[in-house]
Symmetry: D2
Subunit: 343 residues, 4 copies
């Protein structure tokens, strides 16, 4: 059994990782850490784990020492030091935070206000969008697990961009995320009575996932791509739906749909829906699937792409395990074939 | 007291009209009709009205006969005959359905599959977007109450379009509506367990409100405007948020904001939020307000406009009463100054 | 116009008071205070009030100085000093907190851990359950607005207890409250993802409203009454449903129902539903109504009473205004005849 | 691999069975039937199953013919004929409906209005509450899977009743269920806008699960037990919380708690929470666990027991599979160790 450890295990992505790893047939959760709850059993923080997993929360260094694979789910700025220690100890490190996602130190500094403290580790790190970077991930020792929004968007746009089926200017992305995306810490805006029956946009044109999305889309398109990205907060627990607007090229909707079907034919977790169906966060929740639906506004020549994921699974913990599976040579889907419940 | 009547009073827009009219200081609800529940007290259909309003549901003709003002909230195709009767009887008719919203018989037929059976009534009818057509409404006898999506969008775009602050091509409108917009009839897709914790787009590029929106925006811009319009279903009861993407002209965001502030300075129900704030359906629910916030993606030159209304008030019953007030020479805001609750 | 002021105006009960007072035809909101947001306009804390009410939050003493009626919505222990100042200044004081609800200093100390610092004020204070204590409230200068649970329970049990229609031992009360009852301060347990799709009991047999409920029921019954009271947290914004179980005496369900109908015939805000109907928090939300339904388990001889209120209106701000109306000789229902919306 | 089949696979319990069986390591879903959707792939009815399970819905007889184990999830009155066919064909039959739960033909007729058409099958049938009837289930060919409410209640009361820790008269059970309990068919009362933000009791003292509950509790207590049972509808998808009120005997709360701990020590799926904790439907959702918490109202001598299950798993499909496991000699927990997600 692979010894897996989670640093920052009591955050929402961390606890989801623990849950998924506990049912992984080839891994075990050997250590979990938390600054806030060190010394307490994790089941005292999350009673859903009572009688299932009672590991006492320890320190990050202990996790690194004990485990073969170290996952970290921490605020940005905290992962580089951990990566360095994992690297020195020869451990596979998978970062669910933002520190290794951006290739440019300048862009990272501009958006996150931090430095690349270990530039050589950044050179080594691989961007873990599994369906795109499978081969690189196979040899990786440091994997940057993509952000939740970027995952839904990159998967939704990949076949269109690499095949030139759309123009790369004027791309509009209107995304909506469930509240778990805001993390575990209570705030006024996530207080139940203020969020229930509400809906609004936030960080329009200035969300930190913007440069990550543009970096990935630019690589796909082979040229710089700029997007307008506006996220919204949905009053649901889980799920991201990204609705994307692109100027369609000469291919018909049906031809573009065929491109998608072909492109994702060999992947397990991306489902291209039949034309006429709409991606719904309900149909992917608690699963590692990404559902993509394609639509067209014929009178404006606009291709509309809807991409739905569970932000905590394919958008965080599930993809992190998928990365582990690839990097360690396990079957990519091992321990991840959760069937989305009907309700 | 003005004798007001509601045809189709047990639908969602109808019952909301009843509720609002019951607290109107210069009107009384003199008759209500319903095909489905004729002969029953309306409070047996809506127990929230127990001990408050127990009027027995009657026939449409009775409503027309008794009342000075007739509101109809019916499926499309049913209002023209009623309008003809009201016209013959000299009654003010306010239609919450779609029959009189479109100026072109061809466009109406294309999108709704019905004919203009009384063309002269269509010539006479006024589009009741109060903040835009105030003067015309003053003399109207037949008023087409705008659709819910079109209301949020037209109010959100008006100052930008008439001032040429944006380009009129490539407008993208990503709208999200609460479930009451789907009406009172239960369906599989509105069954609680299927909608709760779900989110998806529907009728992308083919929603029937599209021609109505384009008709209004074209009038504002003084040239044909085409939009890409994609609505989504929000798992909340009330509210529409329209997020609109436009290519900004030379005016700065601050200058555009000033245009909005000035333009709506004398209106009661449109609130232009300070820059940095975001329109939220929570802040307008149960009220006749439309909240508008302006944002900019500087690196793509995109103006982002968020417009929030309560789909059942400003998007239906509230605006209908506002139209009545204007047409009858009452104060425009009479009986409509509901304060949105904090939760 | 009566000058009304709210101390603690940015808490949930406080802001609801502000909202309701703003539409009161014979009162105006002359001052509002908040320790947390002193110096800021109240609309900056609650943007739903933008363009409607922008009063700057001040100090408690200023509210007392300026206003004829002072409402306070504060944590327990803070109202006695304010009551003393109001009393000295001859102002009507209505307390939405717990300080004046209990008659016994010992019981207050046992459950709240505080002393009666001004015993004479307690002698003077009247328990403001309007339907029961109407006459006393008329002459009151200090009114203790009842708790939300106690209001729903007392109204639901009053006719049965004073008429001896039930046994007074073994009363079980299983109550469920919307989340606004927990107040405005964000906590882990009210964080949206932790509360949404959850449901649980809390403080079983030890909630602070227990002695208040027993005090009221004992007065009704003319003998000491003990209850078992278990509250639960509902994942909705507003509403309390109390389901109450009592051993029925010799009267039939129909006879008990008649008692209720008769007893509440002259009240405006209590609606006794027809037999066969069930009280639903939906049908009273945003209103001052209390809906009561009566049921019977014939094979165990149990009378089941369901009582539904909006915890923030009849359970807090609405009843507070009702108390003001009575104490100042206005019509009891002035400014309070809100019609519950259908959705 | 065991060939499992589901009759009534497109109802909510049916589709949940399909989902759980698809991840069972020793069973495969060999046939599914549906009257409403016969001839269609099940994934066209439930798109969450796209690319996962596309079996075409067939007839009940085909399911019986093909499979080793037949599950039926049908309205009452339809299972006896199926049981007869399974019995004749030597197939294990597990009924998620009500037809085999009651031992008395008279009681069945009184509450369900149907006859025992095959009395000998009723003699043979075993009540499949796994934690109580483990031994009988091992040899069963016809298993009546318990109702959702009865499961939560029987597990919550068992140790108290068999140990005489409580009086058996005056038991009050106030239960609350998520909406999936009402099934897949849309109705006015389950239409999203009517149920969202609502809460109410239904069938007070007359719910059909009452005789089933009393039958089980009477067996436990060794004497006739009558209960007062009032269910409520919670605006959430999944979960039942039963709050139960009993007169406590001489044992202290701590002693009763020890009884529970001991009694359930060897079971996998019942978790007795530490004193001071409260059972929450959130902590068992999507799992086969039943969480039980014990509380006391010392001043009335009342024992309060909260019991939480996922109504669709331990209350339906999960327990049905647990029954299959036991009857076929598989490990009881095989394919059922789902970890409840934190959100």
């Amino acid at each position: 059994m692979i010894k897996a450890g989670v640093i920052g295990a009591t955050g929402y992505a961390g606890i989801e990782l623990v849950r998924l790893l506990l049912s992984h047939p080839e891994a075990e959760v050997s250590a979990v850490s938390s600054v806030s709850f060190e010394g307490k059993p994790i089941s005292s923080v999350y009673p859903c784990l009572s009688n299932i997993f009672g590991s006492v929360l320890t320190e990050a260094d202990t996790v690194i020492e004990i485990c073969d694979v170290v996952f970290a789910s921490l605020p940005h700025g905290h992962s580089q030091e951990i990566a360095a220690k994992c690297s020195a100890a020869g451990k596979l490190f998978i970062d669910l935070g933002a520190d290794f996602r951006l290739e440019s130190a300048d862009v990272y500094k501009q958006w996150y206000g931090c430095e690349f403290t270990h530039p050589s580790l950044h050179d080594e790190a691989v961007y873990g969008l599994c369906e795109l970077n499978y081969e690189e991930i196979q040899n990786a020792k440091i994997i940057a697990n993509p952000g939740c929004y970027p995952t839904s968007i990159a998967l939704g746009l990949y076949p269109a961009l690499i095949n030139g089926a759309v123009y790369t200017d004027g791309i509009i992305i209107d995304a909506k995320s469930g509240v778990t995306g805001a993390g575990r810490t209570p705030t006024q805006s996530t207080h139940f009575p203020e969020l229930n029956e509400s809906f609004y946009a936030y960080k329009a044109g200035e969300h930190r996932h913007t440069p990550e999305i543009e970096q990935t889309l630019s690589q796909m398109a082979g040229q710089p791509v700029r997007i307008t990205f506006v996220p919204h907060l949905l009053p649901v627990n889980r799920g991201i739906l990204s609705t994307m607007y692109l100027k369609k090229g000469k291919k018909s909707l049906s031809e573009v749909h065929d491109l998608y079907i072909d492109f994702y034919a060999d992947t397990e977790f991306v489902r291209v829906l039949p034309l006429g169906s709409y991606a719904d966060i309900k149909n992917v929740k608690y699963s590692n699937y990404c559902d993509i639906s394609l639509h067209e506004d014929m009178h404006t020549g606009t291709l509309i792409i809807c991409s739905a994921i569970d932000n905590m699974v394919k958008g965080a913990a599930g993809q992190a395990i998928q990365n582990m599976n690839i990097a360690l040579g396990l079957g990519e889907t091992t321990g991840l074939k959760f069937i989305p419940p009907a309700f």
